[in-house]
């Protein structure tokens, strides 16, 4: 995105926006934490699969997940990478997912596949956006794909017809609608929770490493069906509050009681 103001119009049409912030100090800091954990396997993220065995992968993934989540003020670092665009797309009062997720997709790894899905069907807020940040150059099957808004609505409508025979058939039906996003290190994709997305088995020669985290407007509706699930408290935490919200919070539960 050449101009930040274009981001809003692009998002309105496509449900996502891509930008790069490789020069951010926070991006480098998170990258350094990942690199330190992967040091024993080499310094080139894209070739890391040559050293890591598949049965080691989950431990590596969990170690890095724990390390990046223990970075002091990781939420501020993340916001400093994507905040300028987030504020244009979501607004200035936001909640953030309480964990930072880590993905590593090595060539030929069939166990790390995240099939086509939409977060809103998993109980996330309709008003949520995912911030996805790449640490490698990835394209085609090594990257993630996004489905356009119109097709995402069609898939939602067709879901019940494919329940028993497998929604993987639905994925096959719309195979030509999967748009793999080409990314270079520092590329960030901010996309709506309503868009179908996912990844396939990485058939390229390089590993993809990325992180992701979710944001929503602080006051936007959440699903209440499962109160302990994807709601503020257990899944999101309030992150940016306006002065008026902070001030008003002093007046909560201060209504006079008449007898």
């Amino acid at each position: 995105m050449d101009h930040i103001n274009d981001a809003q119009n692009f998002f309105l049409e496509n449900g996502y926006v891509k930008f790069n912030n490789k020069s951010s100090i926070s991006y480098q800091l998170i990258r350094d934490v990942i690199a330190t954990e992967l040091e024993q396997y080499g310094f080139d993220f894209e070739s890391i699969h040559k050293k890591i065995k598949i049965d080691e992968l989950n431990n590596v993934r969990m170690n890095i997940f724990n390390k990046i989540n223990s970075i002091k003020n990781w939420d501020d670092h993340l916001y400093s990478i994507g905040g300028e665009v987030i504020s244009k797309i979501i607004g200035n009062e936001i909640s953030i997912q309480n964990k930072l997720n880590f993905s590593i997709q090595m060539p030929g790894d069939k166990l790390s596949q995240i099939p086509m899905h939409t977060d809103r069907a998993g109980g996330h807020s309709l008003f949520e956006c995912v911030l996805w940040i790449a640490f490698t150059t990835s394209n085609k099957t090594s990257s993630m794909y996004i489905v356009d808004p119109e097709t995402s609505i069609s898939i939602l409508n067709e879901l019940p017809n494919y329940e028993l025979n497998g929604i993987n058939l639905l994925e096959k039906k719309y195979l030509n609608k999967l748009k793999f996003i080409e990314v270079v290190p520092g590329d960030c994709i901010l996309f709506s929770s309503n868009l179908y997305h996912g990844n396939v088995v990485n058939e390229e020669a390089s590993t993809r490493i990325s992180i992701n985290c979710r944001f929503k407007s602080l006051w936007a509706p959440e699903y209440k069906k499962y109160p302990n699930e994807r709601v503020t408290g257990s899944f999101y935490k309030p992150y940016k509050l306006s002065p008026v919200s902070i001030f008003a919070s002093k007046f909560l539960n201060k209504e006079p009681k008449f007898v």
Binding site: L111, S112, G123, L159, P160, E163, L164, G166, N228, S234
Partner: protein, 126 residues
């Protein structure tokens, strides 16, 4: 039902203790009576493999046709099911069916008892 992250932790630990390779867990869609992710998972699983569910109650309980279809798939693929909460590891799906039937039966008794109690109250209030 226990929150999904806690279920996930139980399954990860179960896999570790029992020497299984843990792959990413699958979360069911939020819609009522929807078992799309469960069917997808079973449809994609190879024969003679293992499936782990936090509870037997995650099967299509109260949806007879979907339950039959699900059990038919598990039997045809010779899949072993691990239900962590109930501590059931089985390929005997007649056992699973009878277990589920007993759960439904007890829930019906409970409902009927509540109705009975409500009837008693209603008669007292007349």
């Amino acid at each position: 039902m226990m929150p999904a992250p806690a279920q996930n932790t139980c399954m990860r630990d179960y896999a570790r203790v029992n020497g299984f390779n843990f792959r990413l867990s699958v979360l069911e869609l939020m819609y009522d009576n929807c078992y799309a992710q469960l069917f997808r998972l079973i449809n994609e699983m190879p024969s003679n493999s293992n499936i782990c569910l936090y509870s037997i109650l995650l099967l299509p309980l109260g949806r007879a046709l979907k339950l039959q279809e699900c059990l038919k798939l598990l039997i045809s693929k010779n899949i072993k099911s691990h239900f962590i909460f109930e501590k059931i590891v089985t390929q005997d799906y007649i056992e699973v069916q009878s277990y589920l039937a007993s759960i439904e039966f007890s829930s019906q008794i409970l409902n009927e008892n509540l109705n009975d109690i409500q009837d008693v109250f209603n008669s007292l209030l007349k």
